[in-house]
Symmetry: C2
Subunit: 134 residues, 2 copies
Amino acid sequence: MTTTPARRVTKQRVAIADQLERSEAFLSAQDLHAALSRSGERIGLATVYRTLSAMATDGELDVRRTDDGEALYRRCDTEGHHHHMVCRTCGRTVEIGGPKLEEWLAEVSGRFGYVDIDHTVEITGTCPECAAKA
Amino acid sequence: MTTTPARRVTKQRVAIADQLERSEAFLSAQDLHAALSRSGERIGLATVYRTLSAMATDGELDVRRTDDGEALYRRCDTEGHHHHMVCRTCGRTVEIGGPKLEEWLAEVSGRFGYVDIDHTVEITGTCPECAAKA
DNA sequence: GGTTGACCTGAGAATGGTTGTCAATTCAGC
DNA sequence: GCTGAATTGACAACCATTCTCAGGTCAACC
């Protein structure tokens, strides 16, 4: 079916995957590159961008956009369709599935005759720990 | 209360507002600038950017981001909080309010102890007319 | 209707994230 | 080990967006 385009296991990709694995929050390509450089890995920025977008395409990563358009990536724990609630202070992210949300979507799209519906939901808030510190 | 920063009525701003008024869909700054140029208006790109972000700040416009991070603006008919269902083919947009959605949000955020919640919902689909043509 | 000063504009330069280029390198199967 | 295709990295190129600043324009006041 889907032709697998022969992905290789290079140390750069391993390093990137590791770094993502280690992070609770969404990271930008720049963040990741900086973090890797800091920890001694010498990886080209272009490689980071390429790898991230490849992983996102393969569904291994979730993508989000900051308000100023920067792309952020995160390793998703949940397999299927889900959404994110992100702490605006520490970035900690909770994955959320919502049957109730999907119901609402079906109802609304149906009401206006829209078909083949896609959707994204972004929830931002302050997590309990950051709220406690404030 | 809010200090009104003395906004002037210039012909550039009028032209931009008109153009937005005329559009059912979300427009990028570039789109708008191109459209204005086409119709003979000679407006600097920087002015378009400035005006759009000012209007957005004032809540006169809604902002959206394309998948590649470009900012899109649209005149909102609805005053208060609402969401959008955008046709992926023609861009026609329906504004949607969702008490059910807000309920769900409150429930979910409460479950994880997140407070001070903000959210964005983007729905993309094919509108009845475009679906009929397909 | 002129004057005045703050606001606004436009052209181009600067910024910053992201992608393209291409020679050198590295993986993986033989 | 050998070989070819996938991958990498340094750097240029892109492109949306913002900054700069000299010159233009609005609006209030005379």
